[in-house]
Structure formats: structure tokens, C-alpha cells
């Protein structure tokens, strides 16, 4: 069966998607250097730059969030493959406006290896850069081993609050501290019900029974540990939210950000139905839903499923979250 995707040659997918993306949003982003996505109008001098790296095939993540108030430069890799250190280094140079750069890295083996090497090289070259690792997937490691936990949609609030802090003129240490505070207070859990087609090989990236779902699925179909029979929207919401609240130790009266991130083929309709139950449970527990988002921020091709993300907010984080931003796939007025 031929792959039912609108592509040309599989080996050109990334090059062509980046061209198309930047042609579609010329007022906001453009390509620079070696396929780096940068802002159409660079940040003014003297403000901290925000850079990220990650494989492609997850659109709009990550390059969709380059723009005022979020990222300065994104380093897109090949499909599901981290980019190499040289391009990351180039990105950091481009993003450096004299106040240093925060390098946001999602905890995946390849990304971390590339990022570590980038940091080494940057240090040798005397660049001012700090790295923050996001690892909020509670399914991939227990609380005593945060280094095992993968980075999922949690990159999004980290970009948002660190981007806003940078825009407001915070120093590199301050921006790092904010990113770190956000990171330590967030948790994600994913569920998958249908697989995706790998755009290079045309193969399914994992398999699941016709009546099964898997809680804890990673971003690229890396399996989780909660394979079970399909559940209703309400039941799925209950199972996942309970695990997240427990892991983050959320207490009555606290304020949460909730993000439901669709994996690709799961409809907004379904996400709204799941969100409804999340909202009911939080209300019962007297936990405040301070902010919320439902949509697609990082996808895995036409995989069906979603990521449920919660984050404990404080007044600083809330005001940075609410600050205006203007990127192709996230705008706050």
C-alpha cells in the first residue's frame, strides 16, 4: 500500500517543509544559515536569546514557535532525528544579542548528546550560553530518576515563560531561573490509540491492537508501560490526571496550567470532551484551573492520542504566560 502522504521524495521532506513553512509566514520567520529557522526581525541587542533543537516530523513543534516572545532560533533536525552540534552552535551564535543564550533541550538521547557537544564547543569558543533540559514525562522514569524522564509538550510553557522573561529584559541567569522553575513544576503523560506512518520509510512506527490504547507512549512511538483496553474519554482523563496530580503533588487551592496536546489524528472534538472531565475533576478537588490550552503543539504525524500536561503556576509564571507573543503557531494579544 503506498504511503498516503502529500510529499515528494522522502529524502527531501525536511528541506521542503522548512521552505514551505517560512514562505507561508514571511512576516514572522525565515531560514538562515544551514536550515535554521530564525525570526524575520531579530530581537533587539542586549536581550537574552532562546534557542532550541529537535527532530522534524512533529509540526508545528518546534519551529512553529519562533517569533516575538518565544524562540529566537530553532534548529530542526531530520525526521525524528536530532540535528548535529555544528548547526546548534551556529544557531547559538545567531541568537546571541550580547546578553547570552538559553538553550532549551528536550530530554531525548540524540538531542542531549548533540546539545552536550554543542555546549562543550560553545564553551571553548567563549560563548555565553546556559542549557535547560526538559524532562516531564512521568511515564518514563520514577521521581527519583528525573534524568530518565523524556521531554514532551512541556517545552511549550518553557519557551513561553523564558521567552517572555527574555523579552522583558531579564538577564541570562534570571531567564534560566524562570525556565527552571517552570520545568520543575510541570508534568506530562501521553496516550496513543493509533500509530503513525514514518514519512521516510512508509512504515507504521508502532503497533497496537484494534481495541487497545497505550498510556505512557513517547513522542516517536517509543512504547510506554500502560497498554490496556480502550477506555472512554472520561475514564482515560481520570486515569491520566490522577497520575499527574500525584506525581506533581498538587494540593487543594493551587493554580494549574493545563494543556491537552493532540498527537495528530485525534480531533479537537475529542480533546474538548477529555478536557471537560479534567475540568470537572479539578473543580471537585478544589484545584484552580488558572490557564488552559487545547490544540496541537507537537504532533507525531497522523498518530492518534494526546498528551495531558499540567503545571503548577505562581504569579510570576502566570504573568509571563500571559505576556504577548507573536509566532506563526501561537499568538497572545
Amino acid at each position: 500500500m503506498p504511503m498516503k502522504k502529500f510529499i515528494n521524495k522522502p529524502e527531501n521532506v525536511v528541506k521542503e517543509l522548512l521552505e514551505g513553512y517560512t514562505l507561508a509566514y514571511p512576516d514572522k520567520v525565515r531560514l538562515a544559515g544551514n536550515n535554521l529557522v530564525v525570526r524575520a526581525i531579530p530581537k533587539v541587542m542586549g536581550k537574552v536569546g532562546i534557542v532550541t533543537l529537535g527532530g522534524s516530523g512533529h509540526e508545528p513543534g518546534l519551529s512553529g514557535f519562533v517569533g516575538e516572545g518565544m524562540l529566537d532560533v530553532s534548529v530542526p533536525g531530520e525526521i525524528f532525528a536530532a540535528p548535529g552540534a555544528p548547526r546548534c552552535l551556529e544557531a547559538i551564535r545567531l541568537a546571541d544579542r550580547g546578553a547570552g543564550v538559553l538553550f532549551v533541550v528536550l530530554n531525548h538521547a540524540g538531542d542531549v548528546l548533540s546539545a552536550n557537544m554543542t555546549m562543550e564547543l560553545a564553551k571553548k569558543q567563549g560563548l555565553k550560553v546556559k542549557m535547560i533540559l526538559t524532562h516531564e514525562d512521568i511515564s518514563s522514569g520514577d521521581r527519583d530518576h528525573p534524568e530518565d524522564r523524556r521531554g514532551l509538550v512541556g517545552f511549550f510553557p518553557v519557551y513561553k515563560v523564558s521567552g517572555a522573561a527574555a523579552e522583558a529584559g531579564a538577564s541570562l541567569d534570571e531567564v534560566l531561573a524562570i525556565a527552571d522553575r517552570m520545568e520543575r513544576n510541570m508534568r506530562t503523560l501521553a496516550v496513543a490509540v493509533k500509530t503513525a506512518t514514518h514519512p521516510s520509510t512508509g512504515e507504521a512506527i508502532f503497533t497496537l491492537g484494534d481495541d487497545e490504547m497505550e498510556i505512557g507512549m513517547g513522542q516517536h512511538g517509543e512504547a510506554g508501560t500502560g497498554r490496556m483496553k480502550l477506555k472512554t474519554a472520561d475514564k482515560t482523563a481520570e486515569i491520566m490526571l490522577a497520575q499527574l496530580l500525584e506525581d506533581l503533588e498538587v494540593r487543594q487551592g493551587e493554580e494549574l496550567l493545563v494543556i491537552l496536546n493532540g498527537a495528530g489524528a485525534t480531533t479537537l472534538m475529542e480533546l474538548f470532551i477529555v478536557f471537560r472531565r479534567v475540568s470537572q475533576i479539578l473543580a471537585q478537588k478544589k484545584i484552580k484551573m488558572a490557564r488552559s490550552l487545547v490544540g496541537e503543539y507537537i504532533t507525531t504525524q497522523e498518530q492518534a492520542g494526546f498528551q495531558m500536561h499540567i503545571a503548577r503556576m505562581d504569579p510570576d509564571l502566570l504573568s509571563l504566560w500571559d505576556a504577548p507573543c507573536d509566532t506563526p503557531y501561537f499568538v497572545v494579544r
Binding site: E78, A82, G84, A85, G110, S114, T201, G218, E222, T225
Partner: protein, 216 residues
Amino acid sequence: MVTTLCIKELLWMMGGAIEKVKCEHKVLSELDSACGDGDHGTTMLRATNQLEKVMTAHQSDNLQGLLSDMGWTVLGIDGGATGPLLGSFFTGMSESVAGKQTLDTEALTAMFEAGLNALKKQTKAQVGDKTLMDALVPAVAALRAGAEANKEILQILREAAAAAQEGAYSTKNLKARFGRAKYLGDRTLGHQDPGATSISLMFQGFYDGLSTKWEL
């Protein structure tokens, strides 16, 4: 008895490794589908295509320059976990041959050891963790043993290839503790590690590349 290599022979070795990997890239992706994200073959293919270009373009006799270019090329591709690991393997090797025009068995062994050490700076994975280390560590150990025993280069490379292959096979019975596969735990049992398989193929190719040309 062959005891030294110049750049020509090193290019033969590398060419043999590249050919082997290209030929088997689909198998590598299939292995990666079982416990990873199914792209290891594609990544290795991208890496080897770039390496071929670098090797073809390389003009001088500068061993270090060649290996360093190769390393930076691999670091420069979008290579997931493979790029930084394999890239630092090559850059590590390049540093150890600074100033050399030829390599005797000792220098060749030292070169591979330097590559392994550079790689070890990138990851804490050990033998038994179901990664490329399971093939690479025994292969380099075999080189060292052969060099100490004053064996001939082709002989040493053949033993290293055998050790790498043995190591790659051994990953079948291991539980992954690094890379994407680690989250699968017991479910990785029974599957051979793609990264270790690549290393095994490369050592096979080092030997094949050198032996076929030398026999001509």
C-alpha cells in the same frame, strides 16, 4: 607481513565500512523499529553518504585532517543519537594521529582506543547496556590484544570484526539501559541493538575493505 598503513589503506578500510553499512541500511532501520523509532538505517545512510563525499574530496596525505573532517561531517548531520556518538568516535581518532603519515599496528590500535575514549565522554553506557558499546568495546579490546601479540594487521582486524559481531549478537539477550529503547525495559529482550549492529558492520567492512584491495 603487512605492518603499516598510509592514508590510501585507511581510505580502503573506511570505504569497506561504508559499503557494508549502505548495503544493510534497511535491516538497521528494521532493528530500530523494534525498540526505537525506526530510523537508524536512514541515519547511517545519511552519514555514510556524507562520509563518501568527504573521502572523495580529500586530497592531501594528512591523516588527521581526513579523520577530523569525517568526524565533523558525522557530527554535522541530523543524526539523532548516532551523529554525536559516531562523530566523536572519529574526532577522537583524529586527535591521536596528529602528525602521523603512517600507522603501525600500535598506532592503529591507539587510534581506535582514542576514538573509544572520546565516545565514552559522550555517554555513560557500558558493555551490557545494550548499545553500540557492546560491539565497540570488545572490538577495540581485540585490536589491543592482537597488537600486544604482534599479529599482522589484517589478522587483527579480522579478530576485531569477529569480536564486534559477537558483541552485537550478545545484545539480543540484554535489556536496554540507554537511548530510546531503555523505556521499553523487558520488551527489548530478544531484539538485537541497531547501534551495535552498525559497529559490527563497520568492523566487518574495515577488514573487507583492506583485505580485498590488498589482495588485488
